[in-house]
Symmetry: C2
Subunit: 420 residues, 2 copies
Amino acid sequence: MTAREIETELLQMGRDARDAAKVLRQTPRDVKDIALRATARALRKRSAETLAANAEDIAAARDLTPAMRDRLFLGSTHIETIARGLEEIAALPDPVGRELAHWTRPNGLDIRRIATPIGVIGIIYESRPNVTADAGALCLKSGNAVILRGGSEALRSSLAIHAALEDGLREAGLPKTAIQLIRTSDRAAVGAMLKGLNGTIDLIVPRGGKSLVARVQEEARVPVLAHLEGICHVYVHAAADLAMARAIVVNAKMRRTGVCGAAETILLDRAILASHGPAVLKDLAGKGCEIRGDEAVRSIFPEALPATEEDWRTEYLDAIVAMRVVDGIDEAIRHIETYGSQHTDSIVTEDANAAEHLLGALDSAIVMWNASTQFADGGEFGMGAEIGIGTGKLHARGPVGVEQLTTFKYVVRGRGQVRP
Amino acid sequence: MTAREIETELLQMGRDARDAAKVLRQTPRDVKDIALRATARALRKRSAETLAANAEDIAAARDLTPAMRDRLFLGSTHIETIARGLEEIAALPDPVGRELAHWTRPNGLDIRRIATPIGVIGIIYESRPNVTADAGALCLKSGNAVILRGGSEALRSSLAIHAALEDGLREAGLPKTAIQLIRTSDRAAVGAMLKGLNGTIDLIVPRGGKSLVARVQEEARVPVLAHLEGICHVYVHAAADLAMARAIVVNAKMRRTGVCGAAETILLDRAILASHGPAVLKDLAGKGCEIRGDEAVRSIFPEALPATEEDWRTEYLDAIVAMRVVDGIDEAIRHIETYGSQHTDSIVTEDANAAEHLLGALDSAIVMWNASTQFADGGEFGMGAEIGIGTGKLHARGPVGVEQLTTFKYVVRGRGQVRP
């Protein structure tokens, strides 16, 4: 297709999504949940063809690293996990129609703030085919139409999953344009989405690596919910319990190193360097973590590589940690403000005043006291599935679940009041 | 100054604002309120010099229409109104630190969503000098640093008001960079703000006419809270009470024609055209309103000018109304969806089912039943002063008061929990 044909097709998808959004806005939860459960059934029924499509994607992919293959690969357990995920989303409360606030004015006007769908959401993602189902389902549950644009290397897999989503929509009597998948792998499609498809896209959510998110944030002419990176910190304060500090640091860094809530820098208070430092460092090294430390860290742990300024700014997403010794809580706060990404930062301490000082001072989306940064997750927050984590200042920060995919309107009921 | 010098200066203002925002984020309400009340006192004290500066602005302005002069002019009553407005903002509850949600997870994690300032806000406005004080005060109350850019024709007036704001900040011991006013009238300054001053501006709020808002929405590379226009509707339903319909229509259109919540189009149900139409039309015409109607309207009110397609899309902000006859509620909804601006729309009816149908179907920021659209105002909603009204989908819709100038963070308190 030419760039012009792609644009024409995408603009039509935008108009169709806008029309579908009008229907979805007023669709009762039963109908949305019927579609989600029917999609789960269809996914299981279409399992063989989905796995075959995925095998074709993998066979066609060139220069596939093990990590890339891992992201792209679907087995039958994955299909079952995706299907169960859809059923869990169906079981969530309806985020639409919630009464967020209600008050009455002295003149008798009754004012309510009511949650409503955002409208049309564009999701741009990479090679994880499950995002097709998860993102489609979260948007449907929240009453939004969605236009999905996945990585070209996973297109066959995504098309197979999308067919199940269309089955679900059909079974519920919903327009199949409620969840549309872009079928061309031309990158011009992403550019057109970022321009907003002639005002039809209300919000873009990128799901993927830093370069994808950076491009979306740079080029988008519509609002974006995302985080560029998660440079999360654990600060082991002077009054930290040693056993707790060890458990939290190793969990925050090593439980899963590839998630955005994984800790990337550990700040040790100089007061506990000798008492806590060696055990914390030994735990990490024992789990196979590479240590990059400042002078003070290397003085107690000579195996550590020297950390450079660059290390404080790096999201490794790997078994590597940067470690720095700070002179007290205010230096820790300054470090986090200077190098952090306002994602998730945690303090370990038995001193409530110190904890509250840091919780108040930091402006991260999530600030924690005596807990692992790996809890930065919609599921762990009790929100159900999430579409990602936001670190921007507006609309939603932290985990973005179905509630965060809604907006609101004011409903005002009167008895003929006019304004004096 | 050269464009380069302007940019250098503005980037420094951005850095200063960011630093001030760190202080404001943790400033207790007492201190903010001391600054606001001290500003009110300083405004009264500096009244003579402010009025003199305003007289100079007016003398220097060329081709001043009466409406422009009205917007620019300050008298001593205006100064007193502005000062009282600041005291009212001081009396509002602190929007920062509110607990927006609180829950505990099965693993014992205590999660709170706490309101926090957004950071640095850029306000771009036109010739109303009072915006300097109102916007500065609303940002301060909500803990945000602000960079103000007013119209060049009001620069002397704004500088005089800004001096009072600096007095207030000084008296409270707050950095004077908490509220900065751009002193150059070069338009390049607006362009630099819209680019976000190297990531220091979190949000832009334009206050002014459609062309200003359109430029800001078009060029801004940071989030914008605004409404482009308020094409508000009153739909007089078949079951409308005649006396109520007359009162609401004339108030919604004619109370003040220049506000964004003024009705621009009246939709009359064909069922009440003969019974209600003549009185409603006569009321409006009697108040000096020009009527532009469709064929059916002109059949009962021949003095009406013929309405064109363009009239349904026009925000007159004047004593002109477009009037159309619709065949029932669904045609009314379709008309509003097609031509409205998702600002404020009202239905007049005694039929609760019809009212709820429209309130549910429309996706406007404010939907009303039996009330005048002129209530679309932060003060009338009980929010205190507003910085404007938003019609976008994200963050805030409807009136934008101090609460809407905050965001939130999650504060998670644990007892050493790690993620399994």
